[in-house]
């Protein structure tokens, strides 16, 4: 760098330490607050226990010029006494309850709404201060928040008539998939009428695939047993839903090696957030 030439904005922000998951220090919130406005234009104040978290990707936070990336996205998270089951682990695409950092703040639980609590703040403001020294999201928490936003905008829009038929079995379906928590299989489904709201007397026909990682498929009999157990329970629950019929001939448990790109395109990944977005 030539002496006397100003460091680009991105470099300064990087030197300050700003990245995804950084927290605006309490002392600096008054500088940010004017930009925190709700839909009606009223300003939102940051309370003492709130966490104002940077949720832009790090590469955007430290982008070289202000023109290319004028704003930093921040999420205003409020402390809650305990996590609520329906909002943890991305079960809702609207509200997320999460632990910001198990190592440094084991007893702190936060909640945020994906839209209401998300704000844009001019990026150049962040050169005036450094991230909070004592508070920042853990890697896991930062990944979770980013994945939560991604899920909100990438989830398949299933017909309401289909979702409502599944809703009564939601808990049982979730219980059926409990053995798959360790990501040993991915559930994908295809609907015969993915865009149509069918009448009550018309069933949705669906194809269900449990796609198994190739290594697990070849080496882990116990995991495969869990997967087949889960598949049987899951499809049984689906078949018990009024107005839903599993196409058993096409459905099945498949090795990732066998499940093709074409089949991936014809299916949606199952996610419980897909069932809650109309609640």
């Amino acid at each position: 760098m030539t002496p006397g030439v100003a460091v680009p904005l991105g470099g300064t922000l990087a030197k300050c330490g700003w990245r995804t998951g950084s927290v605006v220090p309490q002392a600096a919130t008054h500088e940010i607050e004017p930009f925190l406005r709700n839909g009606g234009g009223d300003s939102v104040s940051v309370q003492k226990d709130d966490w104002l978290i940077v949720v832009s990707q790090t590469c955007d936070v430290v982008a070289k010029n202000l023109e290319t990336e004028p704003f930093v996205e921040v999420l205003l998270c409020t402390q809650i006494k305990k996590l609520r089951t329906q909002f943890i682990d991305m079960r809702s695409t609207r509200t997320l309850d999460f632990r910001p950092n198990r190592e440094t703040h084991e007893a702190v639980f936060l909640t945020a709404h994906a839209v209401k609590d998300r704000f844009l703040v001019p990026r150049n403001l962040f050169v005036n201060f450094h991230p909070d020294k004592y508070r920042c999201l853990s890697t896991v928490a930062a990944r979770r928040v980013m994945a939560w936003f991604a899920l909100r905008y990438s989830r398949p829009a299933w017909p309401e008539a289909f979702v409502s038929r599944l809703r009564s079995a939601g808990d049982a379906l979730e219980a059926a998939l409990e053995p798959l928590r360790d990501e040993i299989a991915e559930i994908r489904i295809a609907l015969d009428e993915p865009e149509k709201e069918l009448d009550d007397e018309q069933p949705y026909s669906i194809v269900v695939f449990f796609v198994v990682d190739e290594e697990i498929w070849n080496k882990d009999v116990k995991a495969r047993t869990d997967i087949y157990d889960a598949y049987a329970a899951f499809t049984s629950q689906l078949n018990n839903c009024d107005g839903i019929k599993v196409n058993e001939a096409l459905s099945g448990v498949k090795s990732g090696e066998e499940f093709t790109w074409q089949a991936t395109r014809a299916t949606d990944e199952w996610n419980f957030a897909n069932l809650t977005h109309r609640d």
């Binding site: 943890i88 682990d89 990944r143 087949y228 499809t235 090795s255």
Partner: protein, 268 residues
């Protein structure tokens, strides 16, 4: 004893209320048909004993220290014979309708809960034997990895029968011939699992002696377990010479898959 005199308006409200049939109650009564052994019970009692009781269509009274709700569930929508709500001593109640609505809602809810109880018991009983059956099949599937049609042929049953066997909500008594066949296929699977962790499906279509495949041998009317055992050993030996898949070659070259969001540890 009566502190209120029922007005004509109250009478109309109450009559309209009793005409209304809560959907939840109707559903509960309909579903009750499944629990035959409990149908002989016809009355439900809930709440505490009142100091006295009287017909709801009469009037509210003071001094009641508890609630009793009696409903003839053989005629659940005909109206409760007695339905009383607590009223603090000395309090004068002008409008009976909210009182009666609450009683009606409680009677409906209590009846629904009671009617659902025997079904839950029955389901729990069902799931024990069905779960064992499904577990056995899951073990088979995990070891063999066969598509359902091929597994059904091995078991000597139709694909639809296999779906029924796999449905944990269905109570199925296997016939002796089915039990024997299932046991034979299980023995085959057990032998295969001692030879390799790879599912049998990866080689089940490969020809063995005389151009036969293992699937063909498994589909015979009578399973020749000795011949199948020899075939399994031959096929397991071939596995080490199989070409590696693209995914395996990429993994060996250091291209590992990126963990997805679902791999994040739960916040629970």
């Amino acid at each position: 004893m009566t502190n209120t005199i029922k007005t004509p308006e109250n009478q109309r409200k109450l009559a309209a209320m009793y005409m209304h049939r809560p959907n939840s109650l109707v559903e509960a009564v309909e579903s009750r048909q499944m629990a035959g052994q409990y149908q002989s019970q016809s009355r439900i009692y809930t709440g505490t004993t009142p100091s006295f009781s009287m017909n709801m269509l009469g009037a509210a009274a003071t001094g009641i220290i508890g609630t009793v709700i009696l409903g003839d569930i053989d005629y659940p929508t005909s109206g409760a014979t007695v339905s009383m709500e607590m009223a603090p001593v000395g309090q004068f109640i002008h409008d009976l309708t909210p009182l009666a609505e609450r009683s009606w809602a409680r009677w409906s809810e209590a009846t629904k809960v009671w009617l659902q109880k025997p079904q839950k018991i029955k389901k729990a009983t069902l799931s024990a034997s069905a779960k064992l059956r499904v577990d056995r099949l899951s073990n088979l599937q995990a070891t063999l990895g066969l598509p359902n049609l091929e597994l059904a042929r091995s078991l000597g049953i139709s694909r639809q029968s296999l779906y029924n066997w796999l449905d944990v909500s269905k109570e199925i008594v296997l016939q002796e011939i089915n039990r024997d066949r299932l046991a034979a296929v299980e023995r085959t699977a057990n032998l295969w699992s001692t030879l390799t962790t790879v599912p049998l499906s990866s080689v089940s279509h490969e020809p063995i002696d005389n151009g036969e495949t293992l699937l063909r041998l498994l589909s015979d009317a009578k399973i020749d377990e000795l011949r199948i055992a020899n075939a399994l050993k031959t096929l397991a030996g071939r596995l080490q010479f199989r070409a590696k898949s693209l995914g395996q070659r990429m993994a060996e070259a250091g291209y590992e898959r990126r963990p997805s969001a679902r791999s994040l540890p739960s916040d629970e």
